[in-house]
Amino acid sequence: MTAPDLGGAPTAISVDSALSCVDIHKSFGGAKAVNGATFSVPKGSITALIGPNGAGKTTVVNILSGSLSSDSGRVMMGDTDITALPSYQRARLGLIRTFQLSRELGGLTVFENLMVAAKVQPGESLMNVYLRPGLVRQAEKESRERAASILEQYGLYDLRDNWARELSGGQKRLLEISRAVMAEPSLLLLDEPMAGVNPALIDRIGGHIHELKAAGVTVLMVEHNLGVVEKICDHVIVLAEGRTLATGLMSELRENTDVVRAYLGGVLDGRVDR
Protein backbone atom coordinates (compact mmCIF):
# COMPACT_ATOMS: atom_id res chain seq x y z
CA MET A 1 0.00 0.00 0.00
CA THR A 2 1.24 3.50 -0.79
CA ALA A 3 1.74 6.04 1.93
CA PRO A 4 -1.05 8.56 2.31
CA ASP A 5 -0.40 11.71 0.37
CA LEU A 6 -2.12 14.54 2.17
CA GLY A 7 -2.67 18.07 1.07
CA GLY A 8 -2.20 19.80 -2.24
CA ALA A 9 -2.76 18.13 -5.58
CA PRO A 10 -0.90 14.80 -5.71
CA THR A 11 0.88 14.13 -8.96
CA ALA A 12 3.14 11.18 -8.13
CA ILE A 13 1.97 7.76 -9.30
CA SER A 14 2.68 4.75 -7.12
CA VAL A 15 4.57 1.91 -8.73
CA ASP A 16 2.41 -0.58 -6.83
CA SER A 17 -0.84 0.66 -8.28
CA ALA A 18 -3.52 -1.40 -9.98
CA LEU A 19 -4.83 1.64 -11.82
CA SER A 20 -3.60 5.15 -12.25
CA CYS A 21 -4.44 8.22 -14.23
CA VAL A 22 -2.14 11.09 -15.04
CA ASP A 23 -3.26 14.64 -15.78
CA ILE A 24 -6.68 13.73 -17.16
CA HIS A 25 -8.63 16.56 -18.78
CA LYS A 26 -12.14 16.48 -20.14
CA SER A 27 -14.40 19.32 -21.24
CA PHE A 28 -18.00 19.31 -22.40
CA GLY A 29 -18.43 22.37 -24.54
CA GLY A 30 -17.02 25.18 -22.43
CA ALA A 31 -17.41 23.35 -19.11
CA LYS A 32 -14.33 21.63 -17.69
CA ALA A 33 -15.54 18.43 -16.03
CA VAL A 34 -12.07 17.04 -15.29
CA ASN A 35 -9.12 19.36 -14.95
CA GLY A 36 -5.89 17.47 -14.48
CA ALA A 37 -6.97 14.60 -12.21
CA THR A 38 -3.99 12.48 -11.22
CA PHE A 39 -4.13 9.58 -8.79
CA SER A 40 -3.35 5.94 -8.34
CA VAL A 41 -5.36 3.11 -6.84
CA PRO A 42 -3.21 0.81 -4.67
CA LYS A 43 -3.24 -2.83 -5.70
CA GLY A 44 -5.55 -4.96 -3.56
CA SER A 45 -7.20 -1.98 -1.88
CA ILE A 46 -10.76 -0.79 -1.56
CA THR A 47 -10.37 2.83 -2.58
CA ALA A 48 -13.08 5.45 -2.42
CA LEU A 49 -13.38 8.29 -4.89
CA ILE A 50 -15.21 11.09 -3.11
CA GLY A 51 -15.91 14.73 -3.73
CA PRO A 52 -18.70 17.27 -3.83
CA ASN A 53 -21.34 17.15 -6.53
CA GLY A 54 -19.85 18.22 -9.86
CA ALA A 55 -16.33 17.24 -8.80
CA GLY A 56 -16.01 15.06 -11.90
CA LYS A 57 -16.15 11.64 -10.19
CA THR A 58 -18.44 9.89 -12.65
CA THR A 59 -16.67 11.49 -15.62
CA VAL A 60 -13.37 10.13 -14.28
CA VAL A 61 -14.90 6.66 -13.87
CA ASN A 62 -16.24 6.86 -17.42
CA ILE A 63 -12.77 7.76 -18.67
CA LEU A 64 -11.08 5.04 -16.63
CA SER A 65 -13.49 2.40 -17.96
CA GLY A 66 -13.24 3.62 -21.55
CA SER A 67 -16.88 4.64 -21.79
CA LEU A 68 -15.64 8.16 -22.47
CA SER A 69 -12.39 9.35 -24.02
CA SER A 70 -10.38 12.05 -22.30
CA ASP A 71 -9.19 15.19 -24.06
CA SER A 72 -5.69 14.55 -22.73
CA GLY A 73 -3.87 12.52 -20.10
CA ARG A 74 -3.02 8.86 -19.62
CA VAL A 75 -4.72 5.91 -17.98
CA MET A 76 -2.52 3.03 -16.83
CA MET A 77 -3.57 -0.40 -15.65
CA GLY A 78 -0.54 -1.63 -13.76
CA ASP A 79 2.29 -1.02 -16.25
CA THR A 80 0.01 -1.10 -19.30
CA ASP A 81 -1.09 2.12 -20.96
CA ILE A 82 -4.79 1.58 -21.70
CA THR A 83 -5.61 5.16 -22.72
CA ALA A 84 -6.41 4.23 -26.32
CA LEU A 85 -8.20 0.94 -25.61
CA PRO A 86 -11.97 0.69 -26.12
CA SER A 87 -14.01 -0.33 -23.10
CA TYR A 88 -14.49 -3.95 -24.19
CA GLN A 89 -10.72 -4.46 -24.37
CA ARG A 90 -10.28 -2.88 -20.92
CA ALA A 91 -12.99 -5.25 -19.67
CA ARG A 92 -11.09 -8.19 -21.13
CA LEU A 93 -7.98 -7.03 -19.29
CA GLY A 94 -10.00 -7.28 -16.09
CA LEU A 95 -11.22 -3.69 -15.65
CA ILE A 96 -14.96 -3.99 -15.05
CA ARG A 97 -17.37 -1.27 -14.02
CA THR A 98 -20.88 -0.79 -12.70
CA PHE A 99 -23.09 2.26 -13.18
CA GLN A 100 -24.56 4.92 -10.91
CA LEU A 101 -28.07 3.85 -11.93
CA SER A 102 -28.16 0.07 -12.07
CA ARG A 103 -28.10 -1.17 -15.63
CA GLU A 104 -29.23 -4.62 -16.56
CA LEU A 105 -29.74 -6.43 -19.83
CA GLY A 106 -33.50 -6.45 -19.36
CA GLY A 107 -34.30 -8.65 -22.34
CA LEU A 108 -32.06 -11.42 -21.01
CA THR A 109 -32.71 -13.63 -18.02
CA VAL A 110 -30.79 -13.13 -14.78
CA PHE A 111 -28.72 -16.20 -15.65
CA GLU A 112 -28.01 -14.99 -19.20
CA ASN A 113 -26.92 -11.61 -17.80
CA LEU A 114 -24.07 -13.42 -16.12
CA MET A 115 -23.34 -15.73 -19.03
CA VAL A 116 -22.66 -12.85 -21.45
CA ALA A 117 -20.22 -11.35 -18.96
CA ALA A 118 -18.08 -14.50 -18.79
CA LYS A 119 -14.50 -13.93 -19.90
CA VAL A 120 -13.57 -14.59 -23.54
CA GLN A 121 -14.72 -18.05 -24.50
CA PRO A 122 -14.20 -20.36 -27.48
CA GLY A 123 -17.93 -19.90 -28.22
CA GLU A 124 -17.18 -16.35 -29.37
CA SER A 125 -15.88 -17.71 -32.63
CA LEU A 126 -18.43 -19.03 -35.15
CA MET A 127 -15.76 -21.44 -36.40
CA ASN A 128 -15.50 -22.94 -32.91
CA VAL A 129 -19.29 -23.09 -32.55
CA TYR A 130 -19.60 -25.27 -35.62
CA LEU A 131 -16.20 -27.00 -35.84
CA ARG A 132 -15.24 -27.50 -32.17
CA PRO A 133 -18.59 -27.92 -30.42
CA GLY A 134 -17.07 -30.09 -27.66
CA LEU A 135 -14.67 -27.34 -26.61
CA VAL A 136 -17.47 -24.75 -26.67
CA ARG A 137 -19.77 -27.04 -24.65
CA GLN A 138 -17.10 -27.60 -22.00
CA ALA A 139 -16.43 -23.85 -21.67
CA GLU A 140 -20.18 -23.17 -21.50
CA LYS A 141 -20.58 -25.82 -18.81
CA GLU A 142 -17.84 -24.23 -16.72
CA SER A 143 -19.39 -20.79 -17.18
CA ARG A 144 -22.82 -22.10 -16.20
CA GLU A 145 -21.41 -23.61 -13.02
CA ARG A 146 -19.62 -20.40 -12.19
CA ALA A 147 -22.71 -18.27 -12.91
CA ALA A 148 -24.87 -20.54 -10.73
CA SER A 149 -22.35 -20.31 -7.90
CA ILE A 150 -22.18 -16.49 -8.09
CA LEU A 151 -25.98 -16.18 -8.21
CA GLU A 152 -26.19 -18.42 -5.16
CA GLN A 153 -23.64 -16.27 -3.35
CA TYR A 154 -25.55 -13.07 -4.20
CA GLY A 155 -28.95 -14.52 -3.33
CA LEU A 156 -30.27 -14.38 -6.88
CA TYR A 157 -30.23 -18.08 -7.77
CA ASP A 158 -33.98 -18.53 -7.34
CA LEU A 159 -34.52 -15.65 -9.78
CA ARG A 160 -32.15 -17.05 -12.42
CA ASP A 161 -34.86 -17.63 -15.05
CA ASN A 162 -36.62 -14.27 -14.50
CA TRP A 163 -36.20 -11.46 -17.00
CA ALA A 164 -33.68 -9.03 -15.53
CA ARG A 165 -36.07 -6.12 -16.15
CA GLU A 166 -38.52 -7.69 -13.68
CA LEU A 167 -36.13 -7.43 -10.69
CA SER A 168 -36.52 -4.88 -7.91
CA GLY A 169 -34.06 -1.99 -7.57
CA GLY A 170 -31.99 -3.76 -4.91
CA GLN A 171 -31.95 -7.01 -6.87
CA LYS A 172 -30.81 -5.13 -9.96
CA ARG A 173 -27.94 -3.66 -7.93
CA LEU A 174 -26.92 -7.14 -6.79
CA LEU A 175 -27.24 -8.45 -10.35
CA GLU A 176 -25.00 -5.67 -11.61
CA ILE A 177 -22.30 -6.51 -9.09
CA SER A 178 -22.62 -10.26 -9.65
CA ARG A 179 -22.37 -9.73 -13.43
CA ALA A 180 -19.18 -7.73 -12.80
CA VAL A 181 -17.85 -10.58 -10.64
CA MET A 182 -18.66 -13.09 -13.41
CA ALA A 183 -16.27 -11.19 -15.69
CA GLU A 184 -13.41 -12.17 -13.30
CA PRO A 185 -12.25 -8.60 -12.68
CA SER A 186 -8.84 -7.76 -11.33
CA LEU A 187 -10.07 -4.20 -10.89
CA LEU A 188 -13.65 -3.22 -10.21
CA LEU A 189 -15.01 0.31 -10.66
CA LEU A 190 -18.23 0.75 -8.68
CA ASP A 191 -20.11 3.98 -9.35
CA GLU A 192 -22.15 4.64 -6.19
CA PRO A 193 -22.94 1.00 -5.43
CA MET A 194 -24.97 1.98 -2.36
CA ALA A 195 -27.14 4.59 -4.10
CA GLY A 196 -30.85 3.98 -3.59
CA VAL A 197 -30.50 0.76 -1.60
CA ASN A 198 -31.82 0.06 1.89
CA PRO A 199 -29.46 -0.09 4.94
CA ALA A 200 -29.64 -3.90 5.19
CA LEU A 201 -28.58 -4.22 1.57
CA ILE A 202 -25.81 -1.65 2.10
CA ASP A 203 -24.30 -3.98 4.70
CA ARG A 204 -24.69 -6.95 2.36
CA ILE A 205 -23.05 -5.15 -0.57
CA GLY A 206 -20.28 -3.96 1.76
CA GLY A 207 -19.72 -7.59 2.75
CA HIS A 208 -19.50 -8.66 -0.89
CA ILE A 209 -16.98 -5.89 -1.61
CA HIS A 210 -14.82 -7.18 1.26
CA GLU A 211 -15.08 -10.72 -0.14
CA LEU A 212 -13.86 -9.40 -3.48
CA LYS A 213 -10.91 -7.71 -1.82
CA ALA A 214 -10.09 -10.96 -0.02
CA ALA A 215 -10.13 -12.67 -3.41
CA GLY A 216 -7.49 -10.22 -4.66
CA VAL A 217 -9.71 -7.79 -6.55
CA THR A 218 -8.85 -4.10 -6.37
CA VAL A 219 -11.93 -1.92 -5.94
CA LEU A 220 -12.36 1.76 -6.76
CA MET A 221 -15.77 3.02 -5.71
CA VAL A 222 -17.44 6.39 -6.08
CA GLU A 223 -19.37 6.88 -2.86
CA HIS A 224 -21.24 9.72 -1.18
CA ASN A 225 -22.01 7.84 2.01
CA LEU A 226 -19.00 8.71 4.13
CA GLY A 227 -20.04 6.24 6.79
CA VAL A 228 -19.66 3.47 4.24
CA VAL A 229 -16.35 4.92 3.07
CA GLU A 230 -15.07 4.97 6.64
CA LYS A 231 -16.26 1.44 7.27
CA ILE A 232 -15.08 -0.43 4.18
CA CYS A 233 -12.49 1.66 2.33
CA ASP A 234 -8.82 1.64 3.21
CA HIS A 235 -7.79 4.45 0.89
CA VAL A 236 -9.60 7.61 -0.19
CA ILE A 237 -9.11 9.96 -3.16
CA VAL A 238 -10.78 13.36 -2.96
CA LEU A 239 -11.70 15.13 -6.19
CA ALA A 240 -12.79 18.77 -6.36
CA GLU A 241 -13.40 20.81 -9.50
CA GLY A 242 -12.00 18.02 -11.63
CA ARG A 243 -8.67 17.89 -9.80
CA THR A 244 -7.24 15.55 -7.18
CA LEU A 245 -7.38 17.46 -3.91
CA ALA A 246 -5.93 14.83 -1.60
CA THR A 247 -5.46 11.11 -1.02
CA GLY A 248 -5.12 9.09 2.17
CA LEU A 249 -7.09 7.49 4.96
CA MET A 250 -10.52 8.88 5.81
CA SER A 251 -9.45 9.63 9.38
CA GLU A 252 -6.48 11.62 8.08
CA LEU A 253 -8.54 13.49 5.52
CA ARG A 254 -10.85 14.72 8.27
CA GLU A 255 -7.95 16.79 9.53
CA ASN A 256 -7.19 18.23 6.11
CA THR A 257 -8.66 21.72 6.04
CA ASP A 258 -8.67 21.94 2.21
CA VAL A 259 -10.69 18.76 2.01
CA VAL A 260 -13.08 19.79 4.75
CA ARG A 261 -13.64 23.17 3.12
CA ALA A 262 -14.07 21.84 -0.40
CA TYR A 263 -16.12 18.80 0.42
CA LEU A 264 -18.84 19.52 2.91
CA GLY A 265 -18.52 23.18 3.56
CA GLY A 266 -16.55 22.52 6.70
CA VAL A 267 -17.92 19.27 8.14
CA LEU A 268 -16.64 15.76 7.48
CA ASP A 269 -18.63 13.81 10.04
CA GLY A 270 -19.50 10.55 8.32
CA ARG A 271 -23.08 11.42 7.55
CA VAL A 272 -24.67 10.67 4.24
CA ASP A 273 -24.18 13.49 1.78
CA ARG A 274 -27.41 13.73 -0.22
Partner: protein, 292 residues
Amino acid sequence: MSELFLAIGFGLVVASVLALSAVGLSLQFGITNYINFAFGDFMAIGAYTSWTLNTGPLHVNIWVAMLIGGLLVGVMAVLLNRFLLAPFARRFQKLFYILIVTFGLSLVLLNLVSSIWGDEVQRYNISNQAPQHIGPFLFTVDQLVVIGIAIVAMLAIHFMLTRTRIGKSMRAMSDNSTLAMTSGINTGFITTLTWFLSGLLAGIGGTVLGITQASITPGSGETFLFVIFAAVIVGGVGSIYGAMVGAVIVGLATEVAALFIDPSYKLDIAFAILILALLFRPSGLFSRPGKA
Protein backbone atom coordinates in the same frame (compact mmCIF):
# COMPACT_ATOMS: atom_id res chain seq x y z
CA MET B 1 -62.72 -26.05 -48.84
CA SER B 2 -59.91 -27.18 -51.12
CA GLU B 3 -59.39 -23.55 -52.15
CA LEU B 4 -58.91 -22.61 -48.51
CA PHE B 5 -56.21 -25.26 -48.10
CA LEU B 6 -54.57 -24.08 -51.31
CA ALA B 7 -54.55 -20.53 -49.95
CA ILE B 8 -53.17 -21.66 -46.59
CA GLY B 9 -50.49 -23.68 -48.38
CA PHE B 10 -49.38 -20.72 -50.47
CA GLY B 11 -49.71 -18.53 -47.38
CA LEU B 12 -47.10 -20.74 -45.71
CA VAL B 13 -44.78 -20.26 -48.68
CA VAL B 14 -45.23 -16.47 -48.51
CA ALA B 15 -44.75 -16.62 -44.74
CA SER B 16 -41.44 -18.44 -45.30
CA VAL B 17 -40.18 -15.75 -47.67
CA LEU B 18 -41.41 -13.10 -45.24
CA ALA B 19 -39.82 -14.78 -42.24
CA LEU B 20 -36.38 -14.84 -43.89
CA SER B 21 -36.65 -11.17 -44.83
CA ALA B 22 -38.37 -9.89 -41.67
CA VAL B 23 -35.83 -11.62 -39.40
CA GLY B 24 -32.99 -10.14 -41.48
CA LEU B 25 -34.46 -6.66 -41.09
CA SER B 26 -35.16 -7.14 -37.37
CA LEU B 27 -31.68 -8.47 -36.58
CA GLN B 28 -30.10 -5.33 -38.00
CA PHE B 29 -32.68 -3.02 -36.39
CA GLY B 30 -32.11 -4.61 -32.99
CA ILE B 31 -28.42 -3.75 -33.10
CA THR B 32 -28.42 -0.37 -34.86
CA ASN B 33 -31.84 0.91 -33.73
CA TYR B 34 -32.77 2.29 -37.15
CA ILE B 35 -34.73 0.84 -40.06
CA ASN B 36 -32.79 0.15 -43.24
CA PHE B 37 -35.01 1.37 -46.08
CA ALA B 38 -32.56 -0.10 -48.59
CA PHE B 39 -33.33 -3.63 -47.36
CA GLY B 40 -35.68 -4.24 -50.33
CA ASP B 41 -32.89 -3.30 -52.69
CA PHE B 42 -30.52 -5.67 -50.89
CA MET B 43 -33.12 -8.34 -51.72
CA ALA B 44 -33.18 -7.28 -55.37
CA ILE B 45 -29.37 -7.45 -55.62
CA GLY B 46 -29.45 -10.97 -54.14
CA ALA B 47 -32.21 -11.97 -56.57
CA TYR B 48 -30.39 -10.62 -59.63
CA THR B 49 -27.03 -12.07 -58.62
CA SER B 50 -28.69 -15.49 -58.36
CA TRP B 51 -30.43 -14.90 -61.69
CA THR B 52 -27.12 -14.05 -63.39
CA LEU B 53 -25.49 -17.17 -62.00
CA ASN B 54 -28.52 -19.35 -62.73
CA THR B 55 -29.28 -18.21 -66.29
CA GLY B 56 -25.77 -17.16 -67.39
CA PRO B 57 -23.14 -19.35 -69.01
CA LEU B 58 -22.35 -21.11 -65.73
CA HIS B 59 -25.95 -22.40 -65.29
CA VAL B 60 -25.46 -22.63 -61.55
CA ASN B 61 -28.14 -24.57 -59.69
CA ILE B 62 -30.71 -22.10 -58.36
CA TRP B 63 -30.19 -23.05 -54.70
CA VAL B 64 -26.41 -22.73 -54.96
CA ALA B 65 -26.90 -19.43 -56.81
CA MET B 66 -29.23 -18.29 -54.01
CA LEU B 67 -26.53 -19.01 -51.42
CA ILE B 68 -23.82 -17.21 -53.40
CA GLY B 69 -26.17 -14.25 -53.93
CA GLY B 70 -26.90 -14.18 -50.19
CA LEU B 71 -23.21 -14.26 -49.27
CA LEU B 72 -22.45 -11.47 -51.73
CA VAL B 73 -25.22 -9.27 -50.31
CA GLY B 74 -23.94 -10.08 -46.79
CA VAL B 75 -20.47 -8.78 -47.70
CA MET B 76 -22.03 -5.76 -49.45
CA ALA B 77 -24.10 -4.97 -46.34
CA VAL B 78 -20.98 -5.08 -44.14
CA LEU B 79 -19.11 -2.72 -46.49
CA LEU B 80 -22.04 -0.31 -46.81
CA ASN B 81 -22.34 -0.17 -43.04
CA ARG B 82 -18.61 0.24 -42.55
CA PHE B 83 -18.07 3.01 -45.08
CA LEU B 84 -21.44 4.73 -45.36
CA LEU B 85 -24.03 4.06 -42.66
CA ALA B 86 -21.84 3.75 -39.54
CA PRO B 87 -19.97 7.03 -40.20
CA PHE B 88 -23.32 8.81 -40.66
CA ALA B 89 -24.77 7.18 -37.54
CA ARG B 90 -21.71 8.28 -35.53
CA ARG B 91 -21.86 11.82 -36.87
CA PHE B 92 -25.60 12.41 -36.63
CA GLN B 93 -27.17 11.24 -33.42
CA LYS B 94 -30.71 11.98 -34.65
CA LEU B 95 -32.44 8.95 -36.14
CA PHE B 96 -34.09 11.03 -38.84
CA TYR B 97 -30.82 11.70 -40.67
CA ILE B 98 -29.75 8.09 -40.90
CA LEU B 99 -33.23 7.11 -42.13
CA ILE B 100 -32.84 9.66 -44.93
CA VAL B 101 -29.42 8.16 -45.72
CA THR B 102 -30.87 4.62 -46.02
CA PHE B 103 -33.71 6.02 -48.13
CA GLY B 104 -31.16 7.68 -50.42
CA LEU B 105 -29.13 4.48 -50.54
CA SER B 106 -32.29 2.65 -51.58
CA LEU B 107 -32.77 4.99 -54.56
CA VAL B 108 -29.14 4.62 -55.61
CA LEU B 109 -29.27 0.81 -55.39
CA LEU B 110 -32.61 0.64 -57.23
CA ASN B 111 -31.19 2.62 -60.13
CA LEU B 112 -27.96 0.64 -60.02
CA VAL B 113 -29.93 -2.62 -60.35
CA SER B 114 -31.96 -1.14 -63.23
CA SER B 115 -28.85 0.02 -65.04
CA ILE B 116 -27.00 -3.29 -64.59
CA TRP B 117 -29.81 -5.77 -65.21
CA GLY B 118 -32.46 -3.70 -67.00
CA ASP B 119 -36.10 -3.10 -66.13
CA GLU B 120 -37.67 -6.06 -67.89
CA VAL B 121 -39.18 -8.93 -65.96
CA GLN B 122 -36.71 -11.83 -65.54
CA ARG B 123 -37.26 -15.47 -64.62
CA TYR B 124 -35.04 -18.12 -63.11
CA ASN B 125 -34.12 -21.16 -65.11
CA ILE B 126 -36.17 -23.67 -63.13
CA SER B 127 -38.36 -26.38 -64.59
CA ASN B 128 -42.12 -26.32 -64.30
CA GLN B 129 -43.15 -28.68 -61.56
CA ALA B 130 -46.42 -30.48 -60.95
CA PRO B 131 -47.72 -29.72 -57.45
CA GLN B 132 -47.75 -32.61 -55.00
CA HIS B 133 -50.37 -33.31 -52.37
CA ILE B 134 -49.05 -33.00 -48.81
CA GLY B 135 -52.13 -33.79 -46.71
CA PRO B 136 -54.79 -31.33 -47.82
CA PHE B 137 -52.18 -28.91 -49.21
CA LEU B 138 -50.62 -28.64 -52.66
CA PHE B 139 -46.95 -27.71 -52.97
CA THR B 140 -44.36 -27.79 -55.72
CA VAL B 141 -40.93 -29.16 -54.79
CA ASP B 142 -39.45 -25.66 -54.98
CA GLN B 143 -42.10 -24.33 -52.62
CA LEU B 144 -41.30 -27.12 -50.16
CA VAL B 145 -37.60 -26.28 -50.41
CA VAL B 146 -38.40 -22.60 -49.69
CA ILE B 147 -40.39 -23.62 -46.59
CA GLY B 148 -37.54 -25.94 -45.57
CA ILE B 149 -34.93 -23.16 -45.99
CA ALA B 150 -37.02 -20.82 -43.83
CA ILE B 151 -37.48 -23.46 -41.10
CA VAL B 152 -33.77 -24.34 -41.05
CA ALA B 153 -32.79 -20.64 -41.03
CA MET B 154 -35.21 -19.84 -38.18
CA LEU B 155 -33.97 -22.80 -36.12
CA ALA B 156 -30.34 -21.83 -36.77
CA ILE B 157 -31.04 -18.25 -35.67
CA HIS B 158 -32.91 -19.47 -32.59
CA PHE B 159 -29.97 -21.78 -31.76
CA MET B 160 -27.49 -18.98 -32.29
CA LEU B 161 -29.40 -16.45 -30.16
CA THR B 162 -30.07 -18.76 -27.24
CA ARG B 163 -27.16 -21.19 -27.17
CA THR B 164 -24.09 -19.38 -28.42
CA ARG B 165 -22.13 -16.59 -26.83
CA ILE B 166 -22.30 -14.65 -30.11
CA GLY B 167 -26.10 -14.79 -30.07
CA LYS B 168 -26.29 -13.78 -26.43
CA SER B 169 -23.87 -10.95 -27.17
CA MET B 170 -26.19 -9.83 -29.98
CA ARG B 171 -29.15 -9.83 -27.61
CA ALA B 172 -27.10 -8.03 -24.95
CA MET B 173 -26.00 -5.38 -27.42
CA SER B 174 -29.53 -4.97 -28.70
CA ASP B 175 -30.60 -4.40 -25.10
CA ASN B 176 -27.90 -1.95 -24.01
CA SER B 177 -24.83 -1.50 -26.17
CA THR B 178 -22.88 0.55 -23.59
CA LEU B 179 -23.38 -2.06 -20.93
CA ALA B 180 -22.54 -4.83 -23.41
CA MET B 181 -19.29 -3.08 -24.29
CA THR B 182 -18.26 -2.53 -20.68
CA SER B 183 -19.01 -6.23 -20.06
CA GLY B 184 -16.29 -7.14 -22.55
CA ILE B 185 -18.41 -7.66 -25.66
CA ASN B 186 -16.71 -6.57 -28.88
CA THR B 187 -19.61 -4.50 -30.16
CA GLY B 188 -17.83 -3.64 -33.42
CA PHE B 189 -17.53 -7.32 -34.32
CA ILE B 190 -21.13 -8.03 -33.33
CA THR B 191 -22.35 -5.10 -35.47
CA THR B 192 -20.36 -6.37 -38.47
CA LEU B 193 -21.64 -9.92 -38.01
CA THR B 194 -25.23 -8.66 -37.70
CA TRP B 195 -25.00 -6.67 -40.91
CA PHE B 196 -23.58 -9.73 -42.64
CA LEU B 197 -26.43 -11.95 -41.42
CA SER B 198 -29.00 -9.29 -42.30
CA GLY B 199 -27.54 -9.01 -45.82
CA LEU B 200 -27.33 -12.80 -46.16
CA LEU B 201 -31.00 -13.18 -45.25
CA ALA B 202 -31.96 -10.29 -47.57
CA GLY B 203 -30.09 -11.90 -50.46
CA ILE B 204 -31.64 -15.32 -49.82
CA GLY B 205 -35.06 -13.71 -49.25
CA GLY B 206 -34.80 -11.85 -52.58
CA THR B 207 -34.08 -15.04 -54.49
CA VAL B 208 -36.82 -17.12 -52.86
CA LEU B 209 -39.23 -14.21 -53.47
CA GLY B 210 -38.31 -14.38 -57.16
CA ILE B 211 -38.77 -18.17 -57.17
CA THR B 212 -42.19 -18.06 -55.49
CA GLN B 213 -43.41 -15.12 -57.60
CA ALA B 214 -41.88 -16.67 -60.74
CA SER B 215 -40.42 -13.31 -61.72
CA ILE B 216 -38.00 -10.62 -60.61
CA THR B 217 -37.92 -6.91 -61.35
CA PRO B 218 -35.65 -4.20 -59.89
CA GLY B 219 -38.53 -2.95 -57.72
CA SER B 220 -39.83 -6.31 -56.47
CA GLY B 221 -37.81 -6.10 -53.24
CA GLU B 222 -38.97 -2.54 -52.54
CA THR B 223 -42.62 -3.47 -53.09
CA PHE B 224 -42.23 -6.44 -50.78
CA LEU B 225 -40.54 -4.23 -48.15
CA PHE B 226 -43.91 -2.89 -47.03
CA VAL B 227 -45.21 -6.42 -46.49
CA ILE B 228 -42.05 -7.05 -44.46
CA PHE B 229 -42.74 -3.92 -42.42
CA ALA B 230 -46.25 -5.25 -41.71
CA ALA B 231 -44.81 -8.55 -40.43
CA VAL B 232 -42.14 -6.79 -38.35
CA ILE B 233 -44.62 -4.34 -36.78
CA VAL B 234 -47.24 -7.02 -36.07
CA GLY B 235 -44.55 -9.11 -34.35
CA GLY B 236 -42.96 -6.21 -32.48
CA VAL B 237 -40.21 -4.04 -33.94
CA GLY B 238 -36.78 -5.43 -33.11
CA SER B 239 -38.07 -8.77 -31.86
CA ILE B 240 -36.68 -11.70 -33.83
CA TYR B 241 -39.36 -14.13 -32.64
CA GLY B 242 -42.01 -11.44 -33.23
CA ALA B 243 -40.80 -11.16 -36.83
CA MET B 244 -41.19 -14.92 -37.27
CA VAL B 245 -44.75 -14.93 -35.89
CA GLY B 246 -45.64 -11.70 -37.75
CA ALA B 247 -44.46 -13.32 -40.99
CA VAL B 248 -46.80 -16.28 -40.50
CA ILE B 249 -49.76 -14.01 -39.63
CA VAL B 250 -49.26 -11.62 -42.55
CA GLY B 251 -48.38 -14.41 -45.01
CA LEU B 252 -51.49 -16.44 -44.20
CA ALA B 253 -53.79 -13.40 -43.94
CA THR B 254 -52.83 -12.00 -47.35
CA GLU B 255 -53.25 -15.33 -49.13
CA VAL B 256 -56.47 -16.37 -47.38
CA ALA B 257 -57.95 -12.90 -47.94
CA ALA B 258 -57.31 -13.35 -51.66
CA LEU B 259 -60.10 -15.97 -51.60
CA PHE B 260 -62.62 -13.27 -50.80
CA ILE B 261 -61.26 -10.21 -52.59
CA ASP B 262 -59.51 -9.51 -55.86
CA PRO B 263 -55.98 -11.01 -55.47
CA SER B 264 -54.51 -7.81 -56.89
CA TYR B 265 -55.41 -6.21 -53.53
CA LYS B 266 -53.24 -8.62 -51.53
CA LEU B 267 -50.67 -5.90 -50.84
CA ASP B 268 -53.47 -3.72 -49.48
CA ILE B 269 -54.35 -6.46 -47.00
CA ALA B 270 -50.79 -6.21 -45.68
CA PHE B 271 -51.25 -2.43 -45.40
CA ALA B 272 -54.56 -2.92 -43.57
CA ILE B 273 -52.86 -5.30 -41.11
CA LEU B 274 -50.05 -2.78 -40.66
CA ILE B 275 -52.53 0.02 -39.90
CA LEU B 276 -54.59 -2.14 -37.52
CA ALA B 277 -51.42 -3.19 -35.68
CA LEU B 278 -50.31 0.44 -35.36
CA LEU B 279 -53.76 1.47 -34.12
CA PHE B 280 -54.39 -1.28 -31.60
CA ARG B 281 -51.00 -2.71 -30.67
CA PRO B 282 -48.24 -0.42 -31.89
CA SER B 283 -45.65 -2.24 -29.78
CA GLY B 284 -46.50 -5.52 -31.54
CA LEU B 285 -47.15 -8.99 -30.18
CA PHE B 286 -43.62 -9.41 -28.83
CA SER B 287 -42.75 -5.86 -27.85
CA ARG B 288 -39.28 -5.20 -26.54
CA PRO B 289 -38.64 -2.57 -23.92
CA GLY B 290 -36.30 0.21 -24.91
CA LYS B 291 -36.81 -0.08 -28.62
CA ALA B 292 -38.56 2.47 -30.81
